[in-house]
């Protein structure tokens, strides 16, 4: 084990820690919404600065390693991937904050109807985040491809959620302000799933050295 190996290990641990924090933020923001727990929603907003600080810290560490170690090959791919992965994770954190903020607003009003699609979307999205982090650690496997595939499920649910809310709004325009906020929330989750997809694509690059972004992955084996 070289010192450099230790530094890379430490960097990987930090990314996982950040991933955990983001996963919790998503989980808690949706929980705050579904269980109408405004206190928990405020917690999510309050904790976001920790995610931001972690993002900056990891970025600085990556730049330091590039400058001092001049990484090559898989080390280089690992570090450049890390820089991009943390950016996506940080954005997911922001989305969780957005969900929490909408939850705080919605919790002040009577509940429109029980949530059906959003908890399902949140579940899939969280599993995507978790699996990308697993793939980040374990390296080459089918896992990132699985994540990319699941993004379609989230997209479908976004559409279903919207169509359902739209029919409600057509029937009773008074609920539009509340219904629109619900469509926002679905959109945030859909964005989180997109970020998870980005990470999955970058992990494939990290493993294979091949950029598959903007490609039809059914071609990619």
């Amino acid at each position: 084990m070289t010192i450099f190996d230790d530094e890379l290990k430490e960097l990987r641990t930090k990314v996982l820690k950040l991933g955990c924090m983001v996963e919790n933020a998503i989980h808690d923001s949706v929980k705050a919404l579904v269980e109408r727990d405004t206190e928990l929603a405020r917690e999510v907003v309050k904790r976001d600065h920790l995610i931001n600080a972690m993002d900056v810290g990891i970025d600085e560490e990556c730049v330091r390693l590039i400058a001092l170690r001049q990484p090559m090959a898989r080390d280089l791919r690992f570090i450049t991937t890390t820089m991009k992965v943390t950016t996506d994770l940080e954005r997911m954190g922001d989305m969780a904050v957005n969900i929490a903020e909408r939850a705080i607003e919605l919790n002040q009003e009577p509940q429109l109807k029980p949530f059906v699609h959003i908890p399902k979307m949140a579940e899939i999205t969280q599993s995507m985040v978790r699996d990308t982090l697993d793939a980040f650690v374990t390296g080459c496997s089918r896992l990132p491809y699985e994540v990319i595939r699941r993004d379609d499920e989230v997209d479908d649910l976004t559409v279903k959620n919207f169509e359902e809310l739209l029919s409600f709004m057509l029937r009773d325009p008074k609920i539009i302000p509340l219904a629109v906020k619900r469509t926002y929330i679905a959109k945030y989750l859909e964005r989180i799933a997109d970020h998870a997809t980005n990470i999955a694509e970058m992990i494939i690059y990290m493993c294979k050295g091949k950029i598959i972004r903007h490609m039809d992955i059914s071609e990619e084996k």
Binding site: Q70, M72, A73, R74, D75, R77, G209
Partner: protein
């Protein structure tokens, strides 16, 4: 598509020192007007391979070769090869700057004089031209009669490059040309190599992997006399396919 022109074609080529096989059955093409770097740990045979390209290894009496090295499609190990002419066309610069113990001017004019060029004005022209190409002219034009040994390390190395350029070589072989130089002189030489590449094919042996990554178009990785991986420098340093190459360039070797 423009067809790549290979100036050297090395086919199933091995080099022995007595019973020791220093270079093992290597097949490799060197593309014209490109910089090809050869990297690998000490003793991997990279300098031996480099020196075989202008038959400098002939000077080591116990060395012998098997296989073929085609230079401009002609086998340089053919018995009819004019080795002196080969070494003019394939010049060499070494790790330690080694100017002749004579003036700057004489260092550069020596080769052309040996070749029979006598006219002073022609020699002046060749010397100036070579020193300009080696990016040394501005620094030495007022001290052409001073000893070549009085220059700084980086200048001496560029003088050696000028001395080689005066012979109008088609290929220049560099064996660790900057390992004795400071970072500024090193950067100077590296920029010079990129410039020279337009007119001369360059093969460079270097222990400095960053240098190989910075300047070369192609990189060959050798280990224990074998060619482990050869390819575009970009792919070798970003995504090598061989595990051994990966370990070497990421510093986890052995």
């Amino acid at each position: 598509m423009v067809e790549k022109k290979n100036i050297f074609e090395i086919n199933n080529f091995s080099i022995f020192y007595g019973d020791f096989m220093a270079v093992k059955n290597i097949t490799l093409n060197i593309e014209a007007n490109k910089i090809t770097a050869i990297i690998g740990p000490s003793g991997c045979g990279k300098s031996t391979l480099l020196r075989s390209l202008n038959r400098m290894n002939d000077l080591i009496l116990i060395s012998r070769v098997v296989g073929q090295v085609l230079f401009q499609r002609v086998d340089i190990y053919d018995k009819d090869t004019d080795v002196i002419e080969l070494r003019r066309r394939v010049g060499m610069v070494f790790q330690k700057p080694n100017p002749f113990p004579s003036s700057v001017y004489e260092n550069v004019a020596y080769g052309p004089k040996i070749r029979g060029i006598k006219k002073k004005s022609r020699l002046d022209e060749i010397v100036e031209n070579a020193l300009v190409r080696a990016d040394l002219w501005k620094e030495v034009k007022d001290k052409l009669n001073e000893s070549g040994m009085s220059l700084s390390g980086g200048q001496m190395q560029r003088l050696c490059i000028a001395r080689s350029l005066a012979q109008e070589p088609e290929v220049m072989l560099f064996d660790e040309p900057t390992s004795a130089l400071d970072p500024i002189s090193t950067a100077h030489i590296e920029n010079l190599l990129k410039e020279l590449q337009k007119t001369v094919t360059i093969v460079i042996v270097t222990h400095n992997m960053q240098q190989a990554a910075r300047i070369s178009n192609y990189t060959a990785f050798m280990y224990l006399g074998e060619l482990v991986e050869f390819g575009d420098t970009d792919s070798i340093f970003v995504n090598p396919y061989n595990k051994l190459t990966e370990e070497y360039i990421t510093g986890r070797f052995g």
